[in-house]
Structure formats: structure tokens, C-alpha cells
């Protein structure tokens, strides 16, 4: 249960940083926090009480004592895609800084709404 609550708190903090903060770097950090929270949520949905990680070792050979491997595999995909998206976002921030000389969204006039 604590995992669900932690994931929700992380998602909330990420949304706060993404929506309210005006610094672009902080916005990117917020985006990454949301992604981390959702990954934690997916993995904790696959968790089963008292069972082990889905890796066969010399001691553990029975499949009945393992947690669900599918959410973990999907989270692996999600992490990689999040990392590439983060790199692209950082590149855009560098370009914006070079063009406007500031990271504050409110000072980048053409992006103001």
C-alpha cells in the first residue's frame, strides 16, 4: 500500500513542478518525476505479498513463488523511452537558452499566453 501512496505523492509533486514552476529545467525535472511515479505505480501493481523477483536462481526454481513479470518488462521499456525523451527536452532547453538568454518561461515572450 505504501508504494501506491508514494507513487501518487511523486506524481503530485511532478505535476506541481510541471504546471506551476516557470523555470524550464524545473519543468523537465517535474516531467521526469511524473514518469518515475508512474513506473513505480506499474511495478507495484505487479507486486504480490511474500513472493520473489522473477529470476530463476540455483535455489529458487519453482515458478509459483514469483511476482508478475509483465509489469516489470513494460516498465523497462518505459524507462528507456523516458530517458530518450528527457535528452530531447534538454536539447530543446539548451536551444531556447541560446536564443532567448533566459530559462524563465514567462520571459520568453513568444511563448507567453
Amino acid at each position: 500500500m505504501i508504494f501506491y501512496i508514494t507513487a501518487l505523492i511523486i506524481i503530485g509533486i511532478g505535476l506541481y513542478a510541471l504546471i506551476i514552476k516557470s523555470n524550464l529545467i524545473k519543468k523537465i525535472i517535474g516531467l521526469d518525476l511524473i514518469e518515475t511515479g508512474i513506473n513505480l505505480l506499474i511495478v507495484s501493481i505487479g507486486y504480490i505479498d511474500g513472493k520473489e523477483a522473477p529470476i530463476f536462481t540455483f535455489n529458487v526454481r519453482n515458478a509459483a513463488s514469483m511476482v508478475d513479470p509483465v509489469p516489470q518488462a513494460l516498465t523497462l521499456t518505459s524507462i528507456v523511452i523516458g530517458a530518450s525523451e528527457l535528452a530531447l527536452a534538454a536539447a530543446f532547453v539548451v536551444l531556447l537558452y541560446r536564443k532567448y538568454g533566459t530559462l524563465n518561461v514567462k520571459k520568453i515572450r513568444s511563448l507567453k499566453w
Partner: protein
């Protein structure tokens, strides 16, 4: 101020909506359906000890090929956006201190070795191509932080990256021509817990590890070139 409160209420609505959704899926109980099939069939079908790896690369290998493509596209995008040939701009550095320099010199080969170990044992231990590649890229990041005049040979890195991606596609095409479908298992499964087991997982993960390592090192090089070429802050 009013706007912040409105946004706060908005965030609360989103988070509570997710919480309402989660009430339907209880925590910590067995709700496996397709997972049970994977757990039981992994050893006879793939010969890999790590079930997560076998799901990622064996049952959903096409998905992972798309993931590698997404990573490649992102690295290409960063390179296109940031790479500038203009070397005559002023360079300012923050000098690394003595401990960082000597420590990097000692630790760097071990980082590469650990990365190679992780991506070669992806079917036995909790690791894999992406994790090992990321570890190798952190080694290059450390090199950039310690020695400010570092610049990697891009052509060789592009070569390694292309070969890594090509390995994946060639293994997939081998499966297409020798068996029934793209990314079918063409190699023998071997005995459990051996390094040479797990069928096609080992060659694919070596390719993916090299590709991810060189790609992330290229991204690091792009970002550092930006700092060097424009004089940083």
C-alpha cells in the same frame, strides 16, 4: 496567487482520479493471468533464467526493436539540434581537481568492464543491454568531467552504434528466413545458468549494449560540446 490555487485543485483532481482507479486493483494479491504463462514457459521455451528479459526480448522482441529505434531517434535529434562545427567560440572550463582526475583514471576501465558484464549476463541476472549501455555512458561522462579536453572519435562511435543496431535486425531476419517469423529463436537454448544459453537473447543484448552505450556517449558529447563551444553560462 488565484492561478496557483486553481492549478493546485487541478492537480488534486488528477491525483485523486488515479487513486480512485487504484481502488479497483488491490495491492499485493495475485492477479496474474498472462504472467503465469510466461513464468511457466520461460525455461522450456527460451532457456533464460531471467523471466523479465525473456518477456522483453523473446516474447516482445519487436517491441524492444521499436524502443531501440526511439532511442536512436532521440540521439539523432539531440545531435541535429546541438552539434555545431563552430569551434572558434570562447571556451571556459571549471577545472577538475586532482582527486577526480586520478580517480577517473583508475575507475574508468572498471566501469567499462562492469557495463560489459551487465549486458552480457542479461539473461541470467537482473541486467541487460540498456542498463549496461547506460553504465558505459556514465564512464564517458566521468571522463568528460575530469578531463576537459576530451572529445570522442564520433565516426568510430557511429560505427559501433550502427553495428549494434544491425545485429538486432540481422538476428531478427535470420529468424524470418530460417524459422517461421521475425525474431524467432534460431540458436540452441543451451543449459540453464550457462553464459551461452538463452538462444538469441545474448547476441541481441550485446548489440543493444554497445548501441546504447555509444549512443548515450554521443548525447553526452553533444551536450558537452554545447558548453565548450558557447562558453557555458
Amino acid at each position: 496567487m488565484i492561478r496557483k490555487i486553481i492549478y493546485g485543485i487541478f492537480i488534486l483532481i488528477i491525483v485523486s482520479a488515479i487513486a480512485m482507479f487504484l481502488r479497483g486493483t488491490p495491492f499485493g494479491v495475485d492477479k496474474m493471468d498472462v504472467g503465469k504463462y510466461y513464468l511457466e514457459e520461460t525455461i522450456p521455451q527460451t532457456g533464460a533464467a531471467n523471466v523479465v528479459t525473456s518477456v522483453t526480448l523473446f516474447y516482445r522482441g519487436f517491441d524492444t526493436l521499436g524502443e531501440v529505434t526511439v532511442l536512436f531517434t532521440a540521439a539523432l535529434g539531440v545531435a541535429v539540434l546541438l552539434f555545431i562545427e563552430d569551434k572558434k567560440r570562447k571556451m571556459t572550463y571549471v577545472k577538475a581537481n586532482f582527486v577526480t582526475k586520478i580517480g577517473t583514471r583508475i575507475v574508468f576501465p572498471f566501469i567499462l568492464l562492469t557495463g560489459a558484464y551487465i549486458f552480457m549476463h542479461g539473461h541470467l541476472t537482473p541486467g541487460g543491454g540498456f542498463q549496461g549501455g547506460a553504465l558505459i555512458a556514465t564512464g564517458f561522462l566521468l571522463l568528460y568531467l575530469a578531463y576537459e579536453e576530451t572529445s570522442i572519435d564520433r565516426k568510430k562511435f557511429y560505427l559501433v552504434e550502427g553495428l549494434g543496431g544491425l545485429t538486432y535486425v540481422i538476428v531478427g531476419l535470420l529468424g524470418y528466413f530460417m524459422r517461421d517469423s521475425f525474431l524467432a529463436n534460431v540458436l540452441p537454448n543451451g543449459t540453464l545458468f550457462d553464459l551461452l544459453s538463452g538462444g538469441i537473447i545474448l547476441p541481441i543484448y550485446i548489440g543493444v549494449g554497445l548501441k546504447v552505450g555509444s549512443e548515450l556517449a554521443n548525447i553526452v558529447d553533444d551536450l558537452f560540446c554545447e558548453v565548450k563551444c558557447t562558453g557555458g553560462e
